[in-house]
């Protein structure tokens, strides 16, 4: 992102010029996060069923036959249709290059999982950061407003009862999350909403939907379906492919842009509802729109990885401790730190109990829980931003 291409402007009115808000701690955070992603990614691609040496695997990642072939890269990231169009427009060579076996395995099977992990990390972290500002609660997460319970319920409904719709599972999960959010907003609305009412309505809806989820488990007659349901509801990156990258990428980019654009609104929301209103903000409208952005980001993550917990809660927290509460810095920081945690956790999910793989959501939970325990012990006031 901005860190390596633009220098911070520390002179004059600090922090108010277009890029003056970029400071040393943000750049450090971004670089460190990038480092974690690269290292974790390289570890990921080095292990798998087909054994190759670490050197071979790394060579495959940086294989010039792929990296210098824009058509191939376009195909991976945007799909065949767009690749054809762009190649046609710019006269790119569309011939399939000769690739080594290692390159094929790394690029087709192992790398997409890392990319999906990174995208999910971006989405969840941004979504959490936005929800924390909207509810003015540091303990809010992408799932606080009923999103996870709604998504979980539709996942189970689809797998157990409407199994014919299983092909649309990602979209249905995202829709379920959005629907639950709308219900929560409706419950919380009473001449406008308030952060507390939103959170309480989220708890109510989550409780009810959670019970319904548990009830549906009883109707599952196949252990395979149950396992699949658990993988979805705890969040897993197993078996993700370039198709998932293509599904999540546009929404990730869109929500990232919207989040950065909305960062000043988020900053003003942090001053409290009354002040925001007195400054001429249509608080309800802004809050709803920003929640929409957060839902979009969370849905993109849910659609490809299921419900991965704790990332959206922990990442904004860590980033806030490092760069402060300014949302311009926070959003950008989350876009780097989210992937770092997610890709790092996925290494654990894939390799900890090798050859068995556990859902990445279990690892993020195991990491996130103790982190919060540490925070609870260390900080006097946890909760308010």
């Amino acid at each position: 992102m901005a860190s390596d291409t633009q220098r911070g402007d520390y002179s004059g009115t600090s922090g108010q010029t277009r890029l003056g808000w970029i400071n040393g701690s943000l750049v450090t955070l971004a670089l460190a996060s990038l480092g974690v992603v690269v290292v974790a990614g390289l570890v990921q691609v080095s292990f798998g069923a087909y054994s190759m040496s670490i050197g071979q695997a790394w060579q495959a990642v940086f294989d010039p036959a792929v990296l210098t072939n824009p058509y191939l890269l376009l195909q991976f990231f945007f799909g065949e249709g767009i690749a054809e169009t762009v190649a046609g427009a710019f006269g790119l060579a569309t011939a399939e290059p000769e690739l080594t076996r290692e390159t094929l395995i790394v690029w087709n099977i192992r790398l997409p999982r890392v990319v999906v992990g990174a995208l999910v990390g971006v989405n969840l972290a941004i979504s959490g950061a936005i929800f924390q500002a909207v509810t003015r609660n540091e303990l809010a997460s992408p799932y606080i407003l009923g999103v996870s319970s709604g998504a979980g319920l539709t996942i189970l409904l689809t797998l157990v009862i409407f199994s014919g719709l299983a092909a649309y599972l990602p979209i249905l999960a995202a829709l379920g999350g959005t629907l639950a959010f709308v219900i929560v907003y409706g419950i919380a609305w009473k001449n406008g909403t308030s952060p507390v009412r939103l959170v309480l309505a989220g708890v109510i809806v989550s409780t009810i939907f959670g019970s319904m989820q548990t009830a549906i488990f009883f109707f599952a007659n196949d252990i395979g379906i149950v396992q699949s349901a658990i993988a979805w509801t705890t969040g897993s990156l197993t078996g993700t492919d370039w198709e998932q990258v293509r599904m999540a990428l546009p929404w990730t980019v869109l929500s990232l842009i919207l989040a950065v654009a909305g960062s000043r609104q988020l900053n003003v929301l942090l001053l409290g509802e009354k002040t925001a209103q007195a400054l001429g903000m249509s608080v309800e409208r802004v809050r709803f729109a920003l929640s929409g952005v957060a839902i979009l980001a969370a849905s993109a993550a849910i659609a490809v990885a299921g419900i991965v917990g704790f990332v959206g809660l922990v990442v904004p927290h860590i980033v806030r401790n490092i760069v402060g509460s300014d949302y311009r810095r926070l959003v950008v920081g989350c876009a780097f730190a989210g992937p770092a945690l997610m890709v790092g956790a996925d290494v654990g999910a894939r390799l900890a109990l090798s050859p068995a793989q556990i859902p990445v959501g279990i690892v993020t939970g195991l990491v996130g829980g103790p982190y919060f325990l540490y925070l609870m012990r260390k900080k006097q006031q946890l909760g308010e931003i």
Binding site: T13, Q16, T17, L271, K274, T275, A278, G280, G324, E384
Partner: protein, 315 residues
């Protein structure tokens, strides 16, 4: 709330009939009618209001909350005169803050209108209104890591479009606000590290940067030490004098109100009890009826009426 002082249908006649010296007079003054009543003093309102200052008027107001069955505040007319400092005073629960919230469009009245220079507040866009009318709430919270300068820049919110960055106007307004509030030395300090008084001055700088014609302040001096109380009130006075900003301020301390304000609006049980310049409003009767305090008032004191409270009266 009982309608003891004001009977809404007779207020018009009461208004013209009541003479200014009676402290019990229903002071529902409608738009300067009593201004030329022959009262003399430095605070007297001019016959014609200055063109560049803005007047805020509440008409026939009934203000309540969704949770209360009956209106909390009812008054036929309240005027915040253009280019003057008006203090809203009264005991706890008398409705000062509620009235202020309605005057700033934060709380829509159940009945009646609030007019900013003759236009209903509801007809303004939210940002448009925020460019003309500023409000500082009683309790403000900001993230601790925010610097004073960043906080003050938020005051420019209504002047900036969604994607607009800071321009020279914004910078000038922020610099001026910071210097007027006297917080230059704190410019780069984090809000979380400031004392209560410094924090309040920083917040005042923020509403100053908003650069409005009317400024409403809800108990800006409560909880501050004496030094910062005076600092805040001096900033308000300076602002009023130099920029002709119309100010309405809720104050807890009637002595302070008497010293700093051009006008007092005294409230009791959700109604206006009296209205006028301090020397007229601050009387022993007022302190007894409104504040339930026995006190002597030295009306001839050079800095405004001087109150010596003796004891609280029985409820």
């Amino acid at each position: 709330m009982v309608d003891t002082n004001v009977s809404s249908n007779s207020s018009e006649s009461a208004n013209t009939a009541s003479s200014s010296e009676s402290a019990n007079a229903t002071s529902n003054r409608t738009n300067g009618e009593t201004a030329g009543d022959g009262r003399n003093g430095p605070d007297e309102e001019p016959e014609t209001e200055p063109v560049d200052a803005t007047e805020l008027v509440g008409e026939d107001l009934a203000i309540g909350y969704p949770t209360t069955p009956e209106p909390v505040v009812e008054c036929d007319s309240v005027v915040i005169p253009a280019g003057e400092v008006t203090a809203l005073v009264g005991p706890n629960g008398s409705g000062k803050s509620t009235l202020l919230r309605s005057l700033s469009n934060q709380l829509e009245p159940e009945r009646g209108n609030v007019l900013l220079d003759g236009h209903e507040l509801q007809t303004f866009g939210t940002k448009e209104l925020a460019q003309r009318l500023g409000l500082l709430s009683q309790e403000n919270e900001a993230p601790g890591s925010l610097t004073v300068e960043e906080l003050v820049y938020h005051g420019r919110y209504p002047h900036r479009g969604f994607f607009e960055t800071v321009n020279e106007d914004d910078e000038a307004a922020v610099d001026e606000a910071i210097s007027l509030a006297g917080v230059e030395h704190l410019r780069d300090s984090q809000v979380g590290n400031l004392s209560g008084g410094q924090k309040q001055l920083a917040w005042i700088a923020m509403v100053l940067a908003q650069d409005t014609d009317v400024l409403l302040l809800d108990e800006p001096t409560t909880y501050l030490d004496l030094h910062h109380q005076l600092r805040v009130m001096e900033v308000v006075r300076t602002l009023n004098r130099e920029r002709d900003v119309t100010v309405a301020v809720v104050l807890h301390d009637i002595g302070q109100a008497a010293r700093f304000a051009d006008n007092l609006v005294a409230m009791r049980d959700g109604e206006l009890y009296d209205w006028g310049p301090p020397r007229k409003v601050v009387t022993e009767e007022l302190l007894r009826d409104v504040f339930r305090v026995e006190a002597t008032v030295d009306a001839d004191h050079p800095t405004g009426p001087h109150i010596s409270p003796h004891r609280a009266m029985d409820e």
